[in-house]
Symmetry: C2
């Protein structure tokens, strides 16, 4: 029997509650967004006493379904002012699920300056004082925590940026090697948990009952089909694209397409792309280690295994991992073409507890506004230390690109709903721009990854410059919402879009766990239900169709090399979710 664990930070009490029938089938984003919609006033201040933070493993998380160790974190975002779901892969989520916890709801507000951790075991949840860990880097405190609580626990935490309630603060989870590197990074939810003075949720899965599976045969049938698809598709198979080059395999692809945002979205092609690409990471490691290094998983049971590790010239570990988004955000977008510098910046993001995408976007805006020259990675490293120390400049930067633009009176801020854009130029790839503009999440590629057909030819190929893609974006947004609820990594999408039996298996797995007869239609129905719910929350929070728009400068600044502007009609944007 699964439970909802309610954690109150006003009086520091915990309560295990029965799962209401309306939440029975839900998991992941479906559940976090539903609880936020049901319990949080859309007009509340994201950092005030009335916001809540919800953690939920996906529907199949904790089972042996492949690549399914994701956790959704939900709340009202201090970055966007709207509802937010951000997910990460970590055994933390699997352990929570195995303890029979369907969701953790953190609410209330601290009455003093003290910080707390929560230690969850099969016997219950207990607070422990956490003041001794506050103000320190996450790489510094992680070994001691695993020493204290056991090597096999999972840890959720925030870095100093979250402690200081900065809106680019992420929610950190340990990776498979117990490093502080897996982030629900987007939307600043780390600041929300910081406002509640909850420094850790440590979970010990030992002796937990495990995840109940209603229809084991159906689940097993589905699991095999999906696993087979993942092991077959070129992108997701062992020694395939992701396993070899990681997500950074995309660098050269997007650069070639002229859709690789460079120097705060001033160009669509970066002259330093090749030296900061997935191929460069693979070759660099090979040279420095004297052997080929394939990637590893971020949690047990992942068959894709896309997480890389970058090494120093002497073969020692530099950082794990350099994702496509990170090498772009802290590379091309800042005019930085040095993988070692990018690796240092990523390490600092992990240590301080900030989202690499928003961090890179913020550095780029600051450079564009004249605070340093593009390419000056030493200045960027200095700024990271300002964030860590919480200097005034650190408080500007730590609150993201929009606040940085505001503070320095700079209008070239490439974001939607206060969240900076990720690594796809919307002027050159229109569908992803439609997703940026219309998803309730703020500019977010994972909310409706139309890049799959627009650039990668997954599920067919569509013209990257075509503007009539309201349906395409909407379909991706709906299906993604269900994937985000399943507990699977979004990267299963490559295989399930191209291989019909993989898609069937994916649906059967989920249906098997909860005991339904879901089909592909249900995936889209439920996905729509989730997104519509999120859109309604945002509308109640004050968002209108005027917020489903691109930043103004993209409408009149031509992007090289294709010299394109943002020309998707407003009516197309309004057609996605209805104006």
């Amino acid at each position: 029997m699964t439970k909802i664990l309610r954690v109150n930070m006003t009086d520091r009490t915990v309560k295990y509650e029965d799962v209401p029938e309306k939440y029975r089938l839900m998991g992941g984003r479906w559940l976090t967004s539903s609880i936020i919609v049901d319990e949080v006033d859309p007009t509340c201040h994201p950092l005030g006493p009335n916001n809540k933070l919800v953690f939920a493993p996906g529907i199949v998380t904790g089972t042996n379904a492949p690549t399914s160790g994701r956790v959704s974190v939900g709340g009202k975002s201090p970055l966007t002012g709207g509802i937010k779901e951000s997910n990460a892969g970590s055994n933390w989520s699997q352990l929570i699920a195995k303890l029979g916890i369907k969701a953790i709801v953190v609410e209330g507000y601290p009455q003093d300056d003290k910080w707390w951790g929560l230690h969850i075991t099969k016997d219950g949840a207990e607070f422990f004082p956490a003041d001794e860990y506050v103000g320190k880097g996450l790489y510094e405190i992680f070994p001691g925590l695993f020493e204290r609580f056991g090597k096999k626990v999972g840890i959720m935490t925030i870095g100093v940026a979250g402690e200081k309630r900065m809106a680019m603060a992420g929610v950190c989870f340990n990776d498979a090697e117990n490093r502080p590197t897996r982030y629900s990074g987007r939307g600043g939810l780390g600041a929300v948990i910081g406002s509640k003075h909850l420094k850790f949720i440590v979970v010990d899965g030992e002796g937990g009952p495990g995840v109940e599976i209603a229809d084991k045969d159906l689940f097993e049938k589905g699991r095999k089909k999906l696993t087979e698809a993942l092991r077959t598709h070129d992108i997701t198979k062992p020694k395939g694209t992701l396993n070899t080059y990681g997500t950074a395999a995309l660098v050269n692809v997007l650069n070639e397409a002229g859709g690789y945002p460079t120097r705060n979205f001033r160009q669509g092609r970066f002259e330093g792309a090749a030296t900061t690409s997935g191929e460069a990471i693979f070759e660099g490691n090979k040279q420095r280690l004297g052997k080929e290094l394939y990637n590893h998983g971020c949690h047990p049971g992942c068959t894709i295994q896309c997480s890389n590790t970058w090494h120093n010239p002497d073969g020692s570990e530099a950082v794990s991992c350099i994702e496509y988004e990170s090498t772009w955000a802290l590379g091309a977008n800042c005019g930085i073409d040095d993988l070692d510098a990018i690796g240092k910046l990523i390490w600092l993001c992990n240590d301080i507890g900030i989202d690499t995408i928003e961090t890179g976007g913020t550095i780029a805006v600051a450079m564009d506004a004249g605070l340093a020259k593009f390419g000056d990675w030493k200045a960027a490293i200095g700024w990271m230390e300002e964030i860590r120390k919480g200097t005034p400049l650190g408080h500007i930067l730590g609150n993201g690109a929009a606040t940085t633009g505001k503070a320095f009176g700079w209008y070239r801020v490439p974001g939607c709903k206060g969240q900076n854009m990720p690594a796809y130029e919307p002027r050159a790839v229109k569908g992803i721009g439609i997703t940026y503009a219309t998803t309730p999440m703020g500019a977010d590629h994972t909310a409706g990854y139309t890049i799959a057909p627009e650039i990668l030819g997954v599920s067919g190929k569509v013209d990257q410059f075509a503007t009539d893609k309201a349906d395409l974006s909407r379909n991706f947004q709906h299906s993604t919402a269900f994937i985000d609820s399943s507990g699977h990594c979004l990267f299963i999408a490559f295989a399930i879009l191209d291989i019909p039996s993989g898609f069937e298996g994916f649906v059967e797995e989920c249906a098997g766990v909860v005991g339904t007869n879901w089909t592909a239609d249900d995936v889209m129905r439920i996905g729509k239900e989730i997104v519509d719910k999120e859109v309604a929350f945002n509308r109640a929070a004050g968002f209108t169709s005027a917020h489903d728009r691109m930043p103004e400068f993209m409408k009149y600044e031509k992007l090289p090399p294709h010299n394109v502007v943002w020309d998707v009609p407003d009516a197309t944007l309004d057609a996605v979710h209805g104006a």
Copy 2:
């Protein structure tokens, strides 16, 4: 024949254009808001190339109508993100009107780092290089400017805060003694003109044609009635309330009513009210000068004369002037009870070019967030120098209370639409709260000053705690929009609300200038037209009824001494302009 002067900062050209028929009757706010609505995309970035700034004298400005030397400044606000009109009293406006200029429209965007001034005479308008004046305090550069251009010119300028595009930057005009003290302060329009690199508009009225008056008899009849009313009413008559104690006469009144916001809106009564009141200013000056000092006007032809000057212990001038809003913003709201300290802070605001209300609100939020203790005026002075220098902290503070709250993750920000509230506690005086929430201007008392009946008993007395005041606020908002268009100071409202012949005279004056047969009905009709136009602009910019709300904390934090929360129903707010 009046003209519109169009100033293009892209190629630095000027053009005198005929006034379109649709603008013929307009002046002041009516004209600035109409031009902004007609020419500016509501979704443009306020500091980007597509915003414009419009200056317009009122309908009767430049005539000998009493107390009519106001100028409206309009644009899209970088503080609120909505349309803005902010007006000030200065001979600058009268001189512009006498040169036959109905409005100045500043547009375009600089192509380099150079700064410019515009010198307008009867013979035309010419640019002059202004780099030598940039980065300096306004008190430092004003004497030299009047030396250069003549003692009788009017000067519009921005301070260093506007140069740095800070969202609390005001638009400064000279006072009658050629000090840099009269501000269109609210809404950060100084940053807009800063983004365009226009440092000055110097106007020399010598030899101008004067203001055409279509029906001189009607005008003269009206002028006499209005003048008589102003000279009769207790608040506006010579040696009356305003002439003796200035606007700060309100301190003790609001404090007594429990509606005087104290320490970032934590209390409604300030123990230091008496020592920072209008009476204290009058008595302090008397003591320091050895004689009674009555107030002076901010422009020629004002019969009210409410501007005070505060003096040092040795009798030398400290600052002019200490308005009610300023003594409150930099006094009670920051827990500061020392008039000399308040005077210094006001002087710094004038010198740097920032709005005293937003500055005080920002200091208060910073203190509330823990950056200094309430009452620490030395810290506040230090912060002013940070703004002047443009340090990172200065950039946070210089962008106002909302940005300061955002940067430091602090949720107690008492503003509406990004603009901090002025000196009336909405929990204790509900009607003004309805105005704050619903005016298109962001929290602004002057947009619908229901304090008149709620506290002062002008035009009858209503219960300050009654919540059913949608009609009251709307009527004030509409009538105010017309007063703001007439060129009269809002303070004529006391007399024209209580003395029917004064109101008649006011309408006749305006009708006499433009040659219409306007009545009281037309005042309300035109006022509604103006406000509806502004509301529509904001809706197109993305504002919804969710933005016509009080900050969340006022709904659950009880305000002493009356222990009241904000309890006006949302439906009442939505009834003001329609949801």
